[in-house]
């Protein structure tokens, strides 16, 4: 990876939300259970996909409890559908809150997207049109969810493969205004910024420059798949150098914040994923050293 990244001139922002910096963690995935339970490897924290553990019982919850005995766990959801126009699913929220009590996650995140309409749950992170109406709709729903969960809630920017004819503003303006309006946190997925910058031809640093960085609760990093005329957010590979550069640039603005490497397809040995977190750690230290000097 390259290390010649222009840092931002301003010192890191003080996070607004009183959440800990857990260091550099990985997503908890089933193929790694054997390694984790047999060897208790050193991992700063695990992030779980909330929905995988919103079940009545059985082995998933037993495994989760084993992980909770040894590691901090943060919760990340994929099915809330904060931007959907169907009513909020209160059964879902009740199950989420129950799980929050189990994991003691200091914050909860999900995506800035819609996931369902009145017919179908699409199980996808579908982008929203960047309109004033959509912005107010999402912000109002975030308020409700955050109040109900009684925890800091963070919204993650998604990768997108289309844009809407109706959009009235840029993605970063929409993202920034939603979190300000909703008074919530951000999960900044640096790979998603990169993927969308390729798919929609914008300058990714412009995006990062315009975010209220004091609201960032957590970072995501991941690999992707370049299909030629667009990039698909597959989480199936190493983080690419351009994304590491963006991460360093963003860290210069936010200071050290819990950072998570996601790997969901063609999942390699845990050590390979942990090696990615070590790269993140080196970058964080470099940024800190720069600001200290």
């Amino acid at each position: 990876m390259t290390s010649t990244v222009a840092s931002s001139a301003t010192p890191p922002a003080t996070p607004r939300f009183d959440v800990p910096d857990f260091g550099c963690g990985v997503g908890l995935r089933i193929p790694h259970y054997g390694h984790i339970f047999a060897e208790s490897p050193e991992v700063d924290f695990f992030e779980i996909i909330s929905e995988n553990f919103m079940v009545a019982g059985g082995r998933p919850l037993r495994h989760l409890d084993q992980v909770l005995e040894r590691y901090p766990v943060v919760q990340h959801g994929v099915s809330l559908g904060i931007g959907a126009t169907t009513p909020l699913d209160w059964e879902y929220l009740a199950a989420l809150k129950k799980l929050v009590r189990r994991t003691k996650t200091p914050w909860v995140t999900d995506h800035l997207c819609w996931t369902r309409n009145s017919h179908t749950d699409l199980h996808d992170l579908l982008p929203l049109p960047y309109t004033e109406d959509a912005l107010m709709h999402v912000a109002a729903r975030v308020h409700i969810v955050q109040d109900y969960l009684e925890l800091p809630f963070g919204i993650e920017n998604v990768s997108s493969y289309l844009s809407y004819a109706q959009s009235e503003m840029s993605e970063w303006e929409f993202f920034a205004r939603v979190v300000e309006e909703a008074d919530c946190g951000m999960l900044l997925d640096v790979n998603n910024v990169y993927v969308s910058s390729f798919n929609h031809a914008f300058e990714p640093k412009d995006y990062l420059d315009r975010l209220p960085v004091e609201r960032v609760l957590q970072y995501h990093l991941a690999g992707h798949t370049n299909k030629g005329n667009y990039i698909l957010d597959t989480h199936s590979d190493h983080v690419i150098d351009a994304v590491w550069d963006l991460y360093e640039y963003a860290c210069g603005k936010t200071g050290p914040i819990s950072t998570l490497v996601e790997w969901d397809e063609d999942i390699p040995e845990l050590d390979v994923v942990l090696a990615e977190t070590e790269k993140a750690r080196v970058i964080r230290q470099r940024v800190q050293a720069r600001h200290a000097s």
Binding site: R59, R116, T120, Y148, L162, Y164, L232
Partner: protein
């Protein structure tokens, strides 16, 4: 920072969704959740043109079609994962046709993909799209594999109190009702689905796609350590367990079994039943014994 509010939905006035946003999601959601390319589609093509912008290298329809394709791949892969034996038996093209027809009839409506196959066994039971001669085994496989998903992460349930069972007097056993574990699943199959699934999932070479009829009975259950087990049982055990599940007395249930056996069986039935109940209790299949005394 979040204000203190623990109350439920009634306390939270949800905003009315913006009309245009709702129309966009209804229109595009339908275009994404189907299996024909949006690019040349008579209905969904114009929908994409209305909502989606083209970019330098892709038309609005091509961009929308990325999401449609992802919808299909995601749900197809989830079904492949939960139905390894059924998919092997039907072959890729047969299984993928089954998946599309199933998803058309039962579009996903749960937040979790875990529930995606909830209706597969019912759907397969009346599905007429199976390759000729494959329907019966496919239906057995669908029932069998769905049960795994259900049993894997169901709630914990109370286990039997062995002391209580020991206190049931010999006279009381005749009229007693035996309560089986709600998560004990009993199957009567016409095809050897268990061995087939084990072979498909094993490290060895994949089995032939063919399955020859062979009547068999299975019990599927979850042990204290939360592992899912499958145990072959005799037809008579199946009859007895099913009768017990039907809430008849132990005596009536045993008479049903006696009616199925030969004279020799009949002579030995008492001893056989004792052994069966002993092993069922040990496995946690029996969670209670209700006698007149226990109400």
């Amino acid at each position: 920072m979040p204000p203190e509010r623990t109350d439920g939905p009634e306390a939270h006035a949800e905003p009315q969704p913006p009309k245009q946003l709702r129309a966009l999601q209804e229109d595009l959601g339908q275009a994404f959740a189907q299996f024909e390319s949006i690019v040349g589609h008579n209905d969904h093509g114009p929908v994409a043109d209305r909502w989606v912008s083209p970019n330098r290298s892709m038309s609005a329809r091509e961009r929308a079609d990325i999401y449609r394709e992802q919808f299909w791949l995601r749900h197809r892969d989830a079904l492949y994962e939960d139905y390894p034996a059924l998919s092997h038996y039907l072959g890729d093209s047969g299984f993928e046709q089954f998946c599309q027809d199933y998803l058309r009839a039962h579009p996903p409506r749960s937040f979790t993909l875990r529930d995606l196959g909830n209706d597969t066994a019912r759907f397969a039971a009346s599905y007429d799209g199976f390759e000729s001669g494959r329907a019966a085994a496919a239906r057995d496989l669908a029932r069998f594999e769905l049960a795994f998903v259900d049993l894997f992460d169901g709630a914990e349930l109370p286990h039997a109190d062995p002391e209580k069972m020991a206190t049931v007097s010999p006279e009381a056993w005749a009229t007693a009702r035996v309560v089986l574990h709600p998560r004990l699943v009993l199957f009567a199959f016409a095809y050897p689905v268990h061995g087939y699934r084990t072979a498909v999932r094993g490290d060895g070479p994949d089995p032939e796609r063919d399955l020859r009829p062979e009547a068999n009975w299975l019990a599927m259950y979850r042990s204290h350590d939360l592992k899912v087990h499958i145990l072959p049982i005799e037809q008579r055990q199946y009859v007895l367990l099913n009768a017990l599940r039907g809430d008849v007395s132990l005596l009536d249930a045993c008479e049903k079994v006696a009616a199925t056996g030969s004279d020799t069986d009949h002579d030995q039935l008492g001893e056989t039943l004792r052994k069966w109940f002993h092993s069922w209790a040990r496995r946690g299949w029996i969670v209670d014994v209700l006698t007149d005394a226990s109400g």
